[in-house]
Symmetry: C2
Subunit: 308 residues, 2 copies
């Protein structure tokens, strides 16, 4: 971030791998969301607009990296990765709605309700969420129905009222609940629900697909939560210090809303230290894995150094 910022070993390697993975995710999403004619053409166009828009594909990359630890066939992992991205993109579409965060720009383009309309955006979100579960339950994702059912159950828990949706509800109430000097515990819990549980699903999904033992699954879970929190602190820092053109969405919203964040409570320096501490901790959870976990190790380092 500073002019003295030293390129981490592996940062270029990671970028290359993420770009390669993005292309494979894109083509999986393309297959799941065919262009349609007829009266529902608009819905499919808008679903494609909301998903195939050059996101970083961080969560899908976590799925692929986790799957690689257990020797999972990539065709299976790609479908799970696409399902996670559908859930992530649906949550962005709904969160951007006027009644929610009211954001007009996403990934540098008009958000879905601006490019289409609100009704279409609501239906796009509903359709993408449903598509995620359709994808996981489909035998093409894995021949073992127990694995398909376990994936569906774990994703539903991560995405629903006890996970992402619950976190978004708390965030909507936050101007009252977390105003000014909200405590770190409450914010940590909010972020764990709002973004952490889906990260955790992404990181654990390889273990579900590859029938990994409990120790490995728990290690990935712990990695995901520390990495996810570091990601969120970096997000708060970006919100404060980033350039809108680079980040691709409206910034400084939390400050204007007087919302408590990690940075508003800890201050910039301590927040940055805390993020680094979480990254170190995240990487330590991966000790039981060999060099095949290097992608995950690099991701953890990357998330605190990103500019977008």
């Amino acid at each position: 971030m500073s002019p003295l910022h030293v390129v981490e070993p592996g940062e270029d390697v990671l970028k290359t791998r993420m770009i390669e993975a993005s292309a494979r995710i894109e083509s999986t999403l393309n297959a799941l969301l065919p262009l349609k004619g007829g009266p529902e053409a608009r819905l499919y166009q808008a679903m494609r607009y909301a998903t195939m828009n050059g996101g970083k594909r961080l969560r899908p990359f976590l799925v692929l990296s986790s799957a690689a630890l257990f020797g999972v066939r990539e065709s299976c992992a790609l479908r799970v990765a696409a399902a996670v991205e559908c859930v992530h993109c649906y949550s962005l579409v709904h969160d951007d709605l006027p009644a929610m965060d009211d954001d007009d720009v996403r990934r540098g383009k008009p958000s879905t309700h601006r490019a289409y309309d609100e009704a279409t955006a609501i239906l796009v979100g509903d359709g993408l969420l449903t598509l995620a579960f359709e994808t996981l339950a489909n035998p093409e994702t894995h021949e073992d129905p127990l694995i398909r059912a376990n994936l569906s159950l774990a994703l539903a828990k991560a995405a629903g009222a006890r996970g992402m949706v619950g976190g978004q509800m708390i965030d909507m109430l936050a101007p009252q609940a977390l105003q000014g000097d909200g405590d770190i515990g409450a914010i940590t819990r909010l972020q764990r629900l709002k973004t952490g549980e889906l990260f955790a699903f992404a990181c654990e999904s390889g273990a579900i697909l590859g029938r990994g033992d409990n120790t490995r699954r728990q290690a990935l879970h712990a990695f995901a939560h520390d990495m996810g929190l570091a990601f969120q602190i970096a997000d708060d820092l970006l919100d404060l210090e980033g350039r809108e053109e680079e980040v691709g969405k409206a910034l400084r919203k939390d400050v204007r809303a007087g919302k408590a964040t990690f940075v508003s409570i800890l201050g910039i320096e301590r927040a940055r230290d805390q993020a680094q501490l979480l990254v170190d901790q995240a990487v330590q959870h991966l000790e039981i894995f060999d060099e095949r976990a290097d992608n995950l190790r690099m991701v953890a380092r990357f998330v605190v150094d990103r500019r977008a």
Copy 2:
């Protein structure tokens, strides 16, 4: 409907059975949606508000009636019934939003976004849809993971862009697409997607749970589509002839919007004849079943004679 309307044999029996079933559905939903404390209390309250509100529970009743044909344990069928009701209720919450149909009243009470707010209503819908898949994938629903995965896949297909969400999209575009003298084919397709596919899932779910053969599953599918279309024609008639206090929602909206419906195209008498024809056809599909299918037979007769 007319003063000479003769009570169908079985109408009272059906009412009693539906009320009994409603109580069991209600207690299953109650267990799936516990009251919570903490900052997300509002979300759970609103999810309960949107579901535990005295609906007719027609779709859950279809699930239980279908399951009874295959000797499925009721504890399993009730969870599938609750999942279907979660999907139905989520669709009502989102459809009622200002950006969609903008309805202030639902089942005689303020719709969810009026009782809470729009952001909460969006999240309630998202949470209920996710809960449906969480419920189906949970081993408590069935010990065989193949059945759980098949249920999830079938529900996702029925609810998603190729089903309910697609139908709602077409309906939103309908003022342009089906204005004035839209054709019966287009309306039939719209309704098949918007309401028919979820009816079909409800009716087939017993066959999935009870490993019914293809002939039986297809018979239930055909029954559901004819019955669902009759249901929709009855809905159009109610919209024209019903009393808002009895029906529990705003009426005469289609006429005001100049939207083509079965009734606007066929006229009242022919629409009523058509509904009756569909009911007879629906009941014929059940010929391969014995008297255990009487609930389904009665439902088919009931849907065209309802006042709410």
